[in-house]
Subunit: 490 residues, 2 copies
């Protein structure tokens, strides 16, 4: 790498010079020849000048109060540093991919009351970018990311259960991640942070459970990446997990979802501000984050929802890429013209300074790497602790849900996934999927159900939801998602 850096640096410097010259000359030219205006592009430079000029926080481990102007989107609310607890693990922690962390912190919040026998604990796992603030608490009354699902009489009934939610390892809301200080150097880890896996996130959570004296979970519950963790918890600690809830997740990331995350990582890492991850003392890659979030938002919702919500409506005449404009919305431009575009733009804008770019990269990669097929587990040196069913059983063991037909062409890896999931064959599991989800398509939900049943799990509940909310259904559909979870847990 030193070689290629050396190769490029002179050309890069020359380019920077040329660009600076070009910028000035375009300014001069603009006055003379009416260079077209692009407020959606200027928005990036204006945001940057705002960051440079103001006290607007670059990302840090002490995020400010979440904004409440994100419209109908569920806010991924962030706790203040005083509103969550921190478990500190003082000794080296072995990671899946050979490296160790010298120590780590896990930020967590709780709801409800721990029973005297500590047998009423629900561990709630988060999606990619969420904090431990799943619901409001006395010390942080801001709405949490699963506010409507946690509380007395709700899906996670705090009259009955003690709910724990953590910020994952690799995250940026109080748990150790790339934005944390490496105790061995006194500097931000940045991209010297080791690659973490979904298993590492769960193992770290169980160190927290150990510290709380919780031996066995009443349930491991999660949606999206949280569903991966939920399954991984059952796999790693089958004797410590009584029930598993997997909502819009998967046991094996597909190339389609890897592709969509790859596109996000690519645009983020191409932002010069990213600077190979070493931006903590400089400007953050806010443009790359905005662009990545736009792509992510496309995968979180669905076309049918947008048909209903936006159709082909044009943007408001007074905004264009977040910048006031005098142009009539009836004259098309290369910048956003349609409401769907300003929606994506707004989603990206809201997110781009709220979350750490390196955390996004590491956690996104952890999702790609998740694979519970037996060969993949064995490659990691992970041997199942339970007796495997005989491979010859597979042809007989498939028992399709009453709610879906057998796949026309069963995935070739289905038996291997069943072998991997044999480890959780005795844990009652709720699988919930959404037909309009394009990130974790319904076929993956059915595959998970088929593999669990093939593995001999006779206590698999499966619900398939309609509706137009796509992957984000788990954040929005309190009635159906909440109802299914509440029913399964009661």
């Amino acid at each position: 790498m030193i070689k290629s850096t050396a190769l490029v640096a002179p050309a890069f410097r020359q380019l920077l010079k040329r660009r600076a010259i070009r910028w000035s000359s375009s300014c001069a030219a603009a006055a003379q020849t009416h260079t077209p205006s692009f407020p959606c592009v200027d928005a990036h430079a204006i945001r940057e000048s705002r960051i440079l000029a103001s006290s607007l926080p670059r990302f840090s481990q002490t995020p400010s109060t979440p904004s409440t102007d994100s419209g109908p989107e569920p806010p991924y609310a962030r706790p203040s540093p005083l509103s969550y607890k921190v478990y500190h693990h003082p000794s080296p922690f072995q990671l899946t991919y050979s490296e160790t962390l010298p120590s780590f912190d896990i930020a967590y919040e709780t709801w409800g009351t721990l029973s005297p026998t500590r047998d009423n604990v629900i561990l709630l796992h988060t999606g990619l970018s969420a904090s431990s603030h799943a619901a409001s608490t006395p010390s942080n009354p801001a709405q949490g990311w699963w506010e409507q699902f946690i509380g007395p009489g709700k899906a996670l009934d705090t009259d009955q259960f003690f709910v724990i939610c953590t910020n994952v390892i690799g995250g940026c809301y109080g748990s150790t991640g790339p934005s944390s200080i490496d105790p061995t150097t006194g500097k931000h880890y940045a991209t010297r942070f080791p690659i973490v896996s979904i298993f590492d996130m769960v193992k770290a959570q169980f160190k927290l459970l150990d510290s709380l004296g919780v031996n066995r979970l009443y349930a491991s519950v999660g949606s999206s990446m949280g569903a991966m963790q939920s399954l991984a918890a059952g796999w790693l600690f089958p004797e410590r997990v009584s029930k598993i809830v997997s909502i819009s997740g998967t046991a094996r990331s597909s190339p389609g979802s890897i592709a969509m995350r790859h596109a996000q990582r690519s645009v983020l890492m191409a932002d010069p501000n990213w600077n190979k991850g070493f931006y903590y003392d400089d400007l953050p890659p806010h443009t790359g984050m905005k662009l990545a979030r736009q792509i992510a938002t496309i995968t979180y919702r669905s076309g049918p929802e947008w048909d209903l919500r936006f159709g082909r409506k044009l943007r408001d005449a007074n905004t264009s890429g977040g910048v006031p404009s005098d142009e009539s919305p009836r004259t098309p431009t290369l910048c956003p013209d349609f409401l769907i575009e300003t929606y994506l733009d707004h989603q990206g804008e809201q997110f781009c300074l709220k979350y750490d770019a390196n955390s996004l990269l590491y956690i996104s990669k952890a999702m790609d790497l998740f694979d519970l097929t037996l060969p993949a587990l064995e490659q990691l040196g992970m041997r199942p602790s339970q007796q495997l069913f005989s491979p010859s059983d597979t042809s007989q063991a498939v028992s399709h849900s009453k709610s879906h037909l057998p796949p026309a062409r069963p995935a070739p890896h289905l038996p291997e996934l069943a072998e991997g999931l044999n480890q959780v064959a005795s844990i009652p599991t709720l699988v919930l999927g959404v037909q309009s989800d394009i990130l974790f398509p319904v076929e993956q939900q059915r595959e998970l159900v088929d593999a669990l049943r093939m593995a001999g799990n006779s206590q698999v509940s499966y619900f398939e939801l309609g509706g137009v909310w796509g992957h984000d259904t788990f954040l929005l559909d309190v009635l159906n998602v909440g109802g299914a979870v509440r029913g399964f847990l009661s």
Copy 2:
């Protein structure tokens, strides 16, 4: 805009200075502290230094011979400037959105023989980035983008038909577009090029037909954006189009497809090299083009195809982001690890210097703007020339294909689309859709069919294809797409 440019420029200059300093200091730091390497990011700078150092052509109107190493992907072959004909329109040309072009060129190629009565002409419309080189010719033997569909006995049978394919207005393969020289200034149009519509592309094509003495088309045929043009040709010149073929297209761009194109435009326009479109005398926005093409590729194929083709296979040990690497593929990185990632990377890399960035923006926007509902047409001042059916007919007029059920919730704009399509109610039309297409979903194909029938068109043929090739099926499925087209045209 002058105002916001003035606001930003000093901050921007300051940033450029800081970035230049940071780059040097990171180089120094790298030697001391083993900065992690990111070959997938260095690839952009290496490509840039290659462009700066070599004679590797920046995009121009004289593209070089297409590379043939794009693997199993259909190459969008480019003609040499001597291998296509050019129609020059010397007088001002009125565009949909109020501006005029002072003159224009249309590049075109032909196959087969024009009949003495000039009644055997098929006008073949292209997708977004294709040239007029749909099939090999004596003067350009390179494979065309629809090579297997054009020739004696093929879908477009050159024993019977005279096939014409043009490069669209706004394109960059010989037709007038943003990379062309504005005759009024002697400089590249760049983003001073006016916004063009699908209607403008078709009107320009009909000026070419006029010059060839072709009064009436045997058929207007197109896929993807070409299908939009195919419908638009029927709408603009109903008396000059005998048959319409629409493959994987739409009569009304949906917010879902606008979203995906918006994401591409956003990443491209955020590339500093794009420079508001004025890059023709400088470095092209190759990184933005690469990133945009990665996103586009995701929309062109399908998850199920990638499941079969790539699964979770890891990349070759010897490549990472196009740059040789010594890393073991078994150690995950933040750069591509999976074969699906290197596939997307390769697709972007192949494309990023082949096509003009501004053409991509203009043509992508033209697709977004396409809407054949009556209110949208009327907003553009486009009045149908034919008698409209009475709106009261709509409830009775729906006649669903035998091959698909009525939609559970008919789109509210269906009657408006039927009103718009009344203009083509007497033209036999073939609609062909693909169930795995995520860019022009099968629901849009059904909507088009329903609207045509609702408009009173009694000669609508509809085929719905399975398979895993997604939107690109029209390039790949010679048997089924070719068979349907050949059957309809014969």
